[in-house]
Amino acid sequence: MLFYQISILKIHLLGGVRLFKSMFNKDGKFEKFKDAETIIGSSIKVKGNFHGKGDIVIEGMLEGSLKTEANVFIGEKAKVGASVEADEALINGEINGNIKVKKYLAIGKTAKITGDVQCGEISIERGASITGQIIVSAENAKKIEIKKSKEEEEI
């Protein structure tokens, strides 16, 4: 049985729900784990503003803010007390903070989110807990795709 604690003010489910996209494998693991720009191991605690351009994997604890132009993977045992901004994300751990994902956000069954969620597309697995507002708008994601393809044409 689905059990969500969701106080939803506005939900736009314009995008289709896909279970997992190319960056994640069938088990919900981050496929390019070894290629991630930054990996925070399960025994490590980080405080501050964590800003990057590449993929970030968090398996440990993080307090502050997390922002990247690429993908974020939050592991099952991770505890994040931070706002999260990324292009795409897979969340399996605990997050206390707002999440803003430009394109696709996958929330795994072990995820526990307290905060507002904003993304282009979303999938939520049975068992996940979310307390906060969820805004899903594919328009944002589409705009980014169009902009990218225009840039590619120019090149």
Partner: protein, 247 residues
């Protein structure tokens, strides 16, 4: 013209045989040059400066990690080097224990080092700095209480006994994610491997470390905490072998 810098410890009798082999091989290959013994000089920096001004092409540290560290430190901190940097090469002939720098260059034995000198395969790499000291391979510590501030943005807290490595040039082929360490990328990599599957990997160029304990540079120099670890970009031209650990 080559200049060979022999470390103090090579005066011991047990290294005589290895040195003889090296000297014969260098003569055979036509690579012999001036020999400077560190034991007999007080100011290494001055001697190396004079060599660079006199037009030396290759400075070769004969000894171990500590020798390489001393020679490079003396090379890069003198004024003449800044001017002639592109023309002066560095290499190592490893003798004795503690030779991980040579191993990362792909130089395992002293005679092999002579052949590598002849082949002159050149790479330009970054150099790490920790306080007033330099390192080529890595700065490492095992601390129970330390903080690492990275690029002034965030702090990594270490509360349990944790091995922390800040690596410029990897010397450990078995290190998880070691293949991603690039001595040309103008970055250092912090790696913490507590157990299999629990790896931390962070890239940066400024690491401020505070807490208890010492930082050990290139397995040879101890620097007490607190210390700031950074990088000098593309600072040295080295002669390497085919079997080096990096690209």
């Amino acid at each position: 013209m080559n200049t060979y810098i022999y470390d103090d410890f090579l005066n011991k009798g047990r290294y005589r045989r290895a040195l003889n082999k090296v000297e014969i091989r260098l003569t055979d290959l036509g690579l012999n040059g001036k020999i400077i013994r560190l034991g007999s000089i007080k100011n290494v920096k001055e001697v190396i400066q004079a060599e660079i001004k006199n037009g030396v092409k290759t400075i070769v540290a004969v000894g171990n990690n500590a020798t390489a560290n001393k020679v490079i430190s003396a090379m890069i901190t003198n004024k003449a080097y800044g001017f002639f940097q592109k023309d002066v090469l560095f290499s190592i002939i490893p003798i004795g224990d503690n030779n991980s720098i040579a191993a990362s260059f792909g130089i395992k034995k002293e005679e092999e080092a002579c052949n590598i000198l002849l082949a002159r395969r050149i790479k330009q790499i970054d150099i790490g700095i920790a306080g007033n000291n330099i390192f080529l391979n890595k700065a490492e510590m095992v601390s129970e209480q330390a903080e690492v501030k990275i690029n002034e943005d965030y702090i990594l807290e270490i509360n349990k006994k944790t091995p922390v490595k800040i690596i410029n040039l990897n010397d450990d082929a078995k290190l998880s994610l070691g293949q991603r360490i690039d001595p040309y990328d103008n970055k250092l990599n912090l790696i913490i491997e507590k157990k299999p599957g629990d790896t931390t990997f962070i890239t940066g160029d400024d690491f401020k470390i505070s807490g208890q304990g010492n930082l050990i540079l290139d397995e040879s120099i101890e620097v007490p905490l607190p210390v700031e670890v950074g990088l000098i970009k593309e600072k040295i031209n080295i002669i390497v072998g085919k079997d080096r650990i990096f690209i």
